[in-house]
C-alpha cells in the first residue's frame, strides 16, 4: 500500500488541527472563566493552591529575614508565621522585649558540633530584617503570588499594603491591592481597617477613613455576634482610631462614646479614662463658651 502524497497528508493534518482548535477553544475559555472568575489556577490546582499560597506567604517571611529562617529541625517551637511581625518597625533592637522574644524564638541555638559550626558560614545564620531602604520590595512578589493562589488569606493584603504605603510610598497600588482583597473578602474587618488607615494616614481624608473604620467595626461586631471570636485587639484599634478621627472632626461626644467602649479593651485603660475626662472637660468648656 502506498502512502498518500505529502501535500494531501499536510492538508489532512491542517484540517485536523483546525477542527481540534475550534473544538478546544470554547472549552478552554469555559475552564478559565469557571467558578466566579477564579480562573485556571483554581481549576488546575483545586484546594491544594491554598497550600502553595501559604508556602509563598512563608517565603515572604523568609525573605523578610534575609534568608535566615530556622527549619522544622532547628526549632520545634519555631514561631508561627506571624503577619504582624512583618508589619513592625524593628529599630528597637534588643531592648524591645517583643523583639527579644522573637529573636529567641528564631534562634538557631549554639552549634551542636564542629560540622554545624562550620556549616553556618554557608547559609544565612544571623537574625536580621529586610526593613531598611528599598530592600522590602523583595517580599512583594511572594505576597502577590500568595494572594493570586488564595485570595481569602487576608494577612497577605494587609502585609503587602503596609509595605507598599508605609515604606515605599506606593499609595495607589496599596489601595488597589486592598480593594482586590476586599472584593474577595467583603466581610474582612482587617482590610476595611487597613483601607481606613490608608485614607487617614496617606490620603488625609478623615471622613472617608471614618466611614471605613465604622464599616470595619460593624463587620467585627457581626463576626463576634456570629461566634467567630474575632481578635479583640482589632476592635481596640478600630475604636481608638474612630475616637481619634471623631475628635479631629470636632465630634467630641462621639469620640467619648468610642473611648468608653474602648476602656475595657485597651491594655492601658487608665490612659483612655484620662483622655475621656479631658474630652468631657473640653466639651463642657466649649458648651459654656
Amino acid at each position: 500500500m502506498s502512502l498518500p502524497r505529502p501535500v494531501i497528508l499536510g492538508c489532512l493534518l491542517l484540517a485536523v488541527t483546525f477542527t481540534l482548535a475550534t473544538w478546544m477553544n470554547p472549552r478552554c475559555e469555559a475552564v478559565t472563566q469557571h467558578g466566579d472568575g477564579d480562573g485556571l489556577l483554581k481549576t488546575v490546582l483545586g484546594e491544594s493552591r491554598r497550600l502553595f499560597a501559604n508556602h509563598f506567604f512563608v517565603k515572604a517571611d523568609v525573605y523578610f529575614h534575609s534568608g535566615y529562617y530556622p527549619s522544622i529541625f532547628d526549632h520545634a517551637q519555631r514561631e508561627r508565621v506571624d503577619a504582624h511581625h512583618m508589619m513592625e518597625d524593628h529599630g528597637g533592637g534588643k531592648e524591645d522585649p517583643d523583639e527579644e522574644e522573637h529573636e529567641k524564638a528564631m534562634s538557631l541555638g549554639k552549634p551542636r558540633n564542629w560540622i554545624d559550626r562550620f556549616g553556618r558560614h554557608f547559609f544565612p545564620s544571623t537574625h536580621s530584617h529586610l526593613d531598611k531602604g528599598d530592600e522590602t520590595r523583595e517580599i512583594l512578589p511572594w505576597l502577590r503570588l500568595s494572594a493570586e493562589l488564595d485570595p481569602t488569606q487576608v494577612d497577605t493584603y494587609i502585609v503587602a499594603s503596609y509595605w507598599l504605603r508605609r515604606h515605599m510610598g506606593r499609595i495607589a497600588q496599596a489601595e488597589q491591592f486592598l480593594r482586590e482583597g476586599l472584593r474577595a473578602n467583603p466581610t474582612s474587618h482587617e482590610i476595611l481597617y487597613e483601607l481606613g488607615s490608608l485614607y487617614y494616614d496617606n490620603r488625609h481624608q478623615p471622613e472617608r477613613a471614618r466611614n471605613l473604620w465604622e464599616a470595619a467595626l460593624r463587620q467585627w461586631r457581626a463576626q463576634d455576634a456570629a461566634g467567630k471570636s474575632p481578635d479583640p485587639v482589632a476592635e481596640d484599634a478600630i475604636l481608638a482610631n474612630l475616637a481619634k478621627v471623631e475628635e479631629e472632626l470636632g465630634e467630641k461626644t462621639k469620640a467619648i462614646e468610642y473611648l468608653k467602649q474602648e476602656v475595657n479593651l485597651s491594655p492601658s485603660p487608665e490612659a483612655v479614662k484620662s483622655h475621656i475626662r479631658d474630652l468631657e472637660q473640653a466639651a463642657k468648656s466649649g458648651a459654656v463658651k
Partner: protein, 258 residues
C-alpha cells in the same frame, strides 16, 4: 600527566558534541527571561526571587550534566571496547580514572562558567550592583561540590549495573544529602535507639555537600568568606580523592570484558 590530560580532553570534547548542555542552557535561559518579564506591583527591580529560581535551575543543570557525563564514561568505554586500545597505549588504570574524572570536572566547570556568566549579566541588569566576589565564590563552591559528585558517580559506575541506575541512585543520594544532611544528627537524636545511632554515624561519615549550596548567601546578599570557602574546597577535594581511590581500587579488580 600528559596521558591524563589527553583522556580529559576527549571527555571535554565529548560533552561539547553532545546536546545535553545546550538544551539545559537554552531551557534555563528561557525560563529566566520569562521570569524577568513578570512584573509585580510595577517593581522591576525585585530581583532576589528571580535570582533564586535561576540559581536553582543552574544547580539542577550542573547536577544533571555532572552525573550524566560521569555515569556513562567507564561503561561506554567497556561496551564499545575502546578501553582495550586505550589501556594498551600504555595508560595505567589509575591514569584512566584520573583522566576521566578531570575531563568530567573540567567540562562541568566550563558549563558552569557559561551558566553563571549569564546569571551575572542577568543579575547586574536588574540589581544594578556587582557582588563579584560572592558570585565567583558561589560558582566555585558549586564546582567543588561537583568534584565530589563526579568522583562518587565514577565509583558508582563500577559498582552499579547500568549508568541509568547509577545516575538515579547518585541523584537521590545527593538530593537527600542536600535536603537533610545538616539535620541528620537531630533526626537521629529524635528517633533514638540504634536507628538514631545509624543516623548519627551517617551524619559524621558522609560528605556534607550542603555546605557547598551557598545559593541563599548569593541571592540574599550575605558575604561569603574566602577562608571558609577555601577550607570547604579542601574538604571537597579530600572526599573526591577518597572516592577516586575507591574507583581506582574497584577498577583494578574489574574484568574489562562485558
Amino acid at each position: 600527566m600528559n596521558k591524563v590530560m589527553a583522556i580529559a580532553g576527549v571527555v571535554v570534547k565529548e560533552l561539547m558534541r553532545r546536546k545535553d548542555f545546550y538544551v539545559l542552557f537554552v531551557m534555563t535561559a528561557l525560563i529566566a527571561l520569562l521570569m524577568l518579564s513578570i512584573n509585580f506591583f510595577n517593581q522591576d527591580n525585585a530581583t532576589r526571587g528571580i535570582q533564586e529560581i535561576c540559581l536553582l535551575l543552574i544547580w539542577i543543570s550542573g547536577l544533571v550534566i555532572g552525573i550524566g557525563t560521569a555515569a556513562r564514561q567507564i561503561p561506554a568505554e567497556r561496551e564499545n571496547r575502546t578501553i582495550f586500545p586505550l589501556l594498551a597505549k600504555p595508560v595505567t588504570r589509575g591514569q584512566f580514572v584520573l583522566g576521566k574524572f578531570l575531563g568530567c570536572w573540567l567540562a562541568c566547570g566550563a558549563s558552569l562558567l557559561v551558566f553563571h556568566a549569564s546569571f551575572w549579566v542577568l543579575s547586574a541588569s536588574r540589581d544594578h550592583q556587582w557582588n563579584v566576589m560572592n558570585y565567583f565564590l558561589g560558582m566555585w563552591m558549586q564546582w567543588m561540590f561537583l568534584s565530589v559528585v563526579i568522583a562518587m558517580t565514577l565509583w558508582g559506575s563500577l559498582v552499579f549495573a547500568a549508568p541509568s541506575s547509577n545516575g538515579t541512585i547518585i541523584l537521590v543520594m545527593v538530593s537527600g544529602e542536600l535536603l537533610l544532611g545538616r539535620h541528620l544528627d537531630q533526626i537521629g537524636g529524635n528517633i533514638g535507639g540504634w536507628v538514631g545511632w545509624l543516623f548519627y554515624a551517617t551524619y559524621f561519615a558522609v560528605p556534607h555537600l550542603e555546605w557547598f549550596d551557598v545559593r541563599e548567601m548569593v541571592f540574599q546578599h550575605h558575604a561569603l568568606q574566602l577562608q571558609y570557602c577555601a577550607a570547604a574546597s579542601v574538604y571537597a577535594l579530600a572526599y573526591a580523592g577518597m572516592f577516586l581511590l575507591a574507583t581506582w581500587f574497584s577498577f583494578r579488580r574489574k574484568a574489562l570484558q562485558t
